[in-house]
C-alpha cells in the first residue's frame, strides 16, 4: 500500500515535472515568436531562434544555417558549442553535402550519420524555393533523449523563424526596389541638366554601378556605321584592357558587342571558342565584365553598359536585367536629347553663318542636308559678279547720311535677293560695290550662265527702284556690272573669332576691273565667261581693253539685253 502511494506520488511528481517542462517549452515558443518579430536582420533572427532552441530544449550545443538550395552552398551559419567539441566538427557535417539530399528529398538524414556529427535533433527550414536550411541541436545537457513532441515544438519554433526571415527578405526586396525606383528618378533628374554625351554616359555608369554595387564597369557609345567609338567611360577596369579608342575593349565593342541587341549575363564558365553568341560573352569575360546591357540611340549610334561582379557576390537576376534595361533606355533618351540639342546648336550656327551669304531657302536646305555645301579650303572654278554704282560719291554728296543708308539698304536687299534667286552667294559688300560668287558654296551646273542672268535681272530691276527713290528722295543711280570666270581659292578665312567664307584670286580683281569699264547699264563679261554662255545669250564684242594688273589687252564682251524680261 505504502509502495503504491509512493509510486503514485512519484508518478504525480514526474507528471508535474513533465508538465512544467512542456509549459517552459511553450513559454519559450511564445517568447521566441514575440522576440523574432522585433528583428529586422535575418542573421539576428537566426541567432535568436538558435538561442531559444538551445535554451528551450536544454541542448549542449546547436546550429542554424541557410543555404542556396540549388548550389548547395551555405550562405549563413550560426552555431554555439560546436567549436569546443573535440569530435567531428560542424563544418564537416555541412561540407559532407549531406544536407543537399535533405533539401532535395525532404526526408531527414540518417540519424546515425547525424549523431556521428553530434546532431540529435534536426528540423529543416524553408524560406523560399532557393533558400533553405536547418536548425540542429546537440545532446541535451541532462542526457534525456528528444521526443516526437520535441520535434514538433522545434518545428513550430522553426516555422516562426522561417516566416520572420521571409518577411525580412520581402522587406529588404521592397527597400531595394524603392532604392532602384529612386535611382531611376534621380538619374532622370540628373541627366536633364547634362548636355554632353560623355557626361551622360558617366552619370549612367556611376548610377548603374552604385545601384548594383560593382567595383568595375564601362559605358560606351559608338557610331557603328562609321566604325568609330565616340565615348568610352570606365571605372575600376584594368588600364591595359581599356587602353583607349580603337584598342582593347573599344575594338571588341565595334567588332562584337556593337551587334548585340539583348542583355547578356555571364554565369559560370564562358565557352572559349565564343560559340553561341558570336563571341560576345568571351569579349566580356576577357575584360572582367559579367553583364552587358546594350542600348540604341539611333540606327547607327549604339552603346552599352558593362558591369563587373557585384560586391555582394550575388549573380545578376532577371529583375536586374529589367532595371538595367530601363536605366540604359533612359540614358539613350538623354543622349538622343543631347545629340538633338547639339544638332540644333550646330544648325543655328550654320543658319547664322550661311544667311550672310545665301538665300534663306538655300540655308534651310543646307541645314537640312538637302544640299551639300563646299566649305572649301580648296581651289575651284567659279564665276564672280562685281557690281558698282556709277559716280556714287557725286550723286550722294549733300545727302543726309540717314537717307543714304536707307537707299543703300534698299538697294543691297533687292540685289542680294536677285543673286540668291540665281543660286549665287553674296561674298561681300565693298562700299557701294557688291561681290557675288556663283558655283562656290552651292554647286550649280553653269555658274557663268547664272551670274549673267543675275546681272541682267539686276539691271532690269534698277529702274523700278529708281522710280521709287525719285519720288521719295529725288534720287536715282546707275550701275555697271563685270563678270569673270576662273579658278579661285575658296574657304573660311580669318581669325578663330571672326571667320568669313570668301574667295581669293585674280579672277575677282578682273571682275572688278570689268565692272569699272562698264558704262551705266552695261554688263561686261570676260572671254572665259563668254565661252560658257550658250547661243541664247546675245553678245556684243567690244574692242580689247587694258586693265590694271594685267599685261596685254583683254577681250571684252557686252551682254545685250532688253529692258523687258528675256
Amino acid at each position: 500500500m505504502e509502495r503504491s502511494i509512493n509510486q503514485s506520488t512519484e508518478n504525480a511528481a514526474f507528471a508535474e515535472s513533465e508538465l512544467e517542462k512542456r509549459l517552459y517549452r511553450l513559454k519559450t515558443l511564445f517568447d521566441a515568436s514575440q522576440e523574432l518579430g522585433g528583428f529586422r536582420d535575418a542573421r539576428d533572427i537566426l541567432d535568436n531562434l538558435l538561442l531559444n532552441a538551445i535554451g528551450g530544449f536544454g541542448a549542449a550545443k546547436g546550429f542554424v544555417f541557410l543555404a542556396d538550395s540549388q548550389a548547395g552552398e551555405v550562405k549563413t551559419i550560426l552555431h554555439r558549442g560546436f567549436d569546443e567539441d573535440p569530435g567531428p566538427r560542424l563544418g564537416d557535417f555541412l561540407s559532407a553535402g549531406k544536407f543537399k539530399g535533405f533539401f532535395d528529398t525532404g526526408s531527414p538524414p540518417d540519424p546515425l550519420l547525424l549523431s556521428s556529427f553530434g546532431v540529435f535533433l534536426l528540423k529543416p527550414l524553408s524560406v523560399s524555393e532557393e533558400v533553405k536550411g536547418a536548425i540542429g541541436l546537440g545532446e541535451r545537457i541532462t542526457g534525456e533523449p528528444y521526443t516526437d513532441e520535441d520535434m514538433e515544438l522545434l518545428g513550430t519554433l522553426a516555422s516562426h523563424g522561417e516566416s520572420r526571415v521571409r518577411n525580412v527578405r520581402l522587406l529588404q526586396q521592397l527597400e531595394k526596389r524603392v532604392f532602384h525606383l529612386r535611382t531611376l528618378y534621380d538619374l532622370s533628374q540628373e541627366v536633364v541638366f547634362l548636355k554632353e554625351p560623355r557626361e551622360i554616359l558617366r552619370a549612367l555608369l556611376m548610377t548603374v554601378m552604385g545601384t548594383f554595387g560593382t567595383v568595375s564597369g564601362v559605358s560606351v557609345l559608338a557610331d557603328v556605321a562609321k566604325g568609330k567609338i565616340e565615348v568610352l567611360e570606365w571605372r575600376g577596369m584594368g588600364e591595359t584592357s581599356m587602353s583607349g579608342e580603337g584598342a582593347g575593349f573599344g575594338r571588341d565593342y565595334l567588332e562584337v558587342l556593337g551587334g548585340v541587341s539583348r542583355p547578356i549575363f555571364l554565369a559560370g564558365a564562358v565557352d572559349p571558342a565564343g560559340n553561341g553568341d558570336g563571341g560576345a560573352s568571351r569579349s566580356l569575360a576577357s575584360v572582367g565584365l559579367n553583364a552587358w546591357i546594350p542600348f540604341r540611340v539611333s540606327e547607327s549610334l549604339r552603346g552599352g553598359i558593362g558591369l563587373g561582379e557585384k560586391l555582394s557576390g550575388e549573380p545578376y537576376a532577371v529583375d536586374d536585367g529589367e532595371l538595367l534595361a530601363t536605366l540604359a533606355a533612359q540614358g539613350a533618351v538623354a543622349i538622343q536629347n543631347a545629340k538633338l540639342l547639339e544638332r540644333m546648336k550646330r544648325e543655328e550656327v550654320a543658319r547664322v553663318n550661311f544667311s550672310r551669304y545665301l538665300s534663306p531657302q538655300i540655308v534651310e536646305k543646307i541645314v537640312r542636308h538637302d544640299v551639300e555645301v563646299n566649305l572649301g579650303g580648296d581651289r575651284k572654278v567659279v564665276t564672280i559678279l562685281f557690281s558698282d554704282i556709277r559716280n556714287f560719291t557725286t550723286i550722294t554728296e549733300n545727302r543726309p547720311p540717314g537717307q543714304l543708308v536707307h537707299i543703300l539698304n534698299e538697294y543691297f536687299t533687292v540685289m542680294a535677293q536677285i543673286i540668291f534667286e540665281h543660286q549665287g552667294s553674296l561674298d561681300k559688300y565693298i562700299g557701294d560695290a557688291i561681290v557675288a560668287v556663283f558655283g562656290s558654296l552651292v554647286p550649280v551646273e553653269n555658274p557663268a550662265k547664272n551670274a549673267v542672268a543675275a546681272a541682267v535681272a539686276m539691271m532690269r530691276r534698277l529702274p523700278e527702284l529708281n522710280r521709287h527713290w525719285e519720288t521719295r528722295y529725288a534720287f536715282y543711280m546707275n550701275i555697271g556690272i563685270g563678270v569673270n570666270t576662273g579658278e579661285v581659292f575658296l574657304g573660311n578665312i580669318g581669325s578663330p573669332e571672326r571667320m568669313e567664307f570668301t574667295v581669293i584670286g585674280d579672277v575677282v580683281n578682273v571682275a572688278s576691273r570689268f565692272s569699272g569699264l562698264a558704262k551705266p547699264g552695261q554688263v561686261l563679261v570676260t572671254k572665259e565667261t563668254r565661252g560658257l554662255l550658250g547661243p541664247d545669250v546675245r553678245i556684243r564684242a567690244h574692242p580689247p581693253a587694258s586693265v590694271k594688273g594685267k599685261t596685254g589687252k583683254l577681250e571684252v564682251f557686252e551682254i545685250v539685253y532688253t529692258q523687258a524680261a528675256m
Partner: protein, 114 residues
C-alpha cells in the same frame, strides 16, 4: 536631391575625418574623390568619412564610395564610414559595400576601430 555637397576635412590624431553634408551623387561627388586623392598624395593612411544623418546618397554616390573603398585597398589605407542613417546603412549592406569598408553608427566608435 538638391542640397549642395559640403565636405570639411579635419584631423583627429592619425585619422583624417571628412565630414560630409548635403547630397552625394555622381554629378557632385567629384569633390570627395578629389579630396581622397589629395589625402592619398599626402600619405594619409586612416580616413573616416562622417556623414550627417540628413545626407542623401544615391546610386552614383555609392559608386563613388565603392571606387574610393576599392582604391584604398590597393593603397593600403584604412577607411571607415560613420553617421549614416539606418536606411543608408541597410542600402550599403545590400550593395555589399560593407565587404570593403566597415560602417559604424558614430564617429567615436569608428575612431576607436582604427
Amino acid at each position: 536631391m538638391n542640397k549642395e555637397l559640403q565636405l570639411e576635412i579635419t584631423t583627429k590624431g592619425e585619422v583624417a575625418v571628412g565630414s560630409i553634408k548635403g547630397d552625394l551623387t555622381a554629378v557632385n561627388g567629384g569633390s570627395i574623390e578629389e579630396a581622397y586623392r589629395g589625402m592619398t598624395r599626402e600619405g594619409v593612411r586612416k580616413i573616416l568619412f562622417l556623414f550627417s544623418k540628413e545626407c542623401y546618397i544615391n546610386s552614383g554616390g555609392i559608386a563613388i564610395l565603392i571606387g574610393i573603398a576599392s582604391a584604398s585597398r590597393k593603397n593600403g589605407q584604412a577607411i571607415r564610414i560613420a553617421g549614416l542613417s539606418d536606411h543608408f546603412r541597410k542600402i550599403f549592406h545590400m550593395m555589399g559595400l560593407t565587404k570593403y569598408v566597415a560602417i559604424f553608427p558614430t564617429e567615436e566608435e569608428a575612431l576607436k576601430d582604427f
